[in-house]
Symmetry: C2
DNA sequence: AAAGTAATTTAGAGGGATCTAAACTTAGGG
DNA sequence: CCCTAAGTTTAGATCCCTCTAAATTACTTT
């Protein structure tokens, strides 16, 4: 049985594991808001318990066992976020903090009942895919809005950034999951993206914003 | 901000505070499954933080502040139990352990939204009253089934004991909240109660069982 | 009222999670 | 190729919660 803290570390390592690079101590300390010293302690513990592969000074990666645990926590987090938005009428920028707490509730049965109650959703309010009970997750072929070619059309599928500030900004722009977007121009100077949303509103978003919006191109 | 453990101690003290007697260290250690030594430590801490009145060797009682906290935890516990039974189709004997975890989720907004989602219930699946957001709780005039006179009629309002074993036994007997009961006889030897449930089934329950069923007499 | 017993508190310790400061390792620039 | 800066680990400490064992206090019983 993992403690809440251990679950959080494993989840952080999971989220930091892009491509097959090893995850570094400092990167973990940053997302966990702890010191590298604390991370080192925890890595030793998680390694002893076989949740991670760990070689001193070389960074870590999740074992099969660790990845399974991580995916269960991610599953719970995202299902609770769906619950909060769909059933309790929270806005998508308000749910992450509460889900950070709810994701640690221990009850297999609870999460399966919740999944059914929500009609087995496949993605959360931010467009992130929800692993199934076995920890399988559909790999979605998505591209960043910042990478879409001029005149390219696409459907908004999700957001990489989940901060309330970012999500509220999208609300203001009228961009949400499912929105149809068309890139009408790209500013050479700063890579800002000019786009049309739902065939109506035309707007310009910074490269930074465009980099955090995941879209699925329509050919 | 209280830790989960502090919340649990305060809740335990609340539940042990019947009539105006002071709550004793050993009683707390028993319901918390800890040693009296651990309780003493915690009492000192809670007293320093003004959640309880504490005089060494004399037992404790909750301050206004402590009672307010306790009632909020109780409110959350019972609302989550309603959620689990009403929305996720749990049986009433399965919800307590999960609610023990959920009651510590910190979010005022969440609990108010949950309350609305559940249509502001006034009692939980075991018949226990749910404090409102201000911590007010209706005082229900209830009596134990064991105290009902022979030929007395009553409606089952709640259970004092919440263990799965007890609740499952009631399921088997066909006794649930709202059941109409009539005491047809009382065995002098061991105070067992003979009763008729919903004008149909006649059965005998032990004094011990009857002592744990709360009823509201019908005149 | 003193003794004996039960309840309670204190002392001392350990595990979990965190920190700061110091020591160590790695890797890149001169 | 070695030296230094950045990254990482270790050492030593604190806070929280828990324990066992010992000491203290309160209550009961004679
Ligand atoms: Mn989230
Ligand atoms: Mn999300
Ligand atoms: Mn309960
Ligand atoms: Mn209950």
């Amino acid at each position: 049985m993992l403690t809440n803290t251990e679950e959080n570390y494993i989840k952080a390592i999971y989220h930091l594991s892009v491509d097959n690079k090893t995850v570094r101590t400092n990167a973990i300390s940053e997302v966990m808001n702890t010191t590298p010293a604390s991370v080192s302690d925890m890595l030793k513990k998680l390694s002893d318990k076989s949740y991670i592969y760990y070689e001193k000074y070389q960074g870590v990666s999740l074992t099969k066992k660790g990845k399974t645990e991580a995916l269960q926590v991610v599953r719970k987090h995202r299902l609770w976020e769906v619950f909060l938005v769909e059933k309790l009428n929270f806005n998508w920028d308000e749910v992450h903090e509460i889900a950070e707490q709810l994701e640690h509730i221990q009850s297999k049965l609870l999460i399966e009942r919740l999944d059914d109650f929500l009609d087995n959703p496949t993605s959360d309010p931010h467009g992130d895919p929800i692993p199934n009970a076995k920890g399988e997750m559909p790999v979605l072929r998505q591209v960043l809005l910042s990478e879409l070619e001029v005149n390219g059309k696409a459907k908004v599928m999700g957001m990489k950034e989940h901060s309330p500030a970012f999500l509220q900004y999208l609300d203001k722009l009228g961009i949400s999951i499912g929105s149809a977007v068309k890139v009408t121009d790209r500013v050479v100077f700063d890579a800002s993206v000019e786009l049309k949303v739902n065939d109506k509103k035309t707007m310009v978003v910074s490269h930074e914003v465009a980099k955090n919006i995941l879209v699925s191109p329509i050919d």
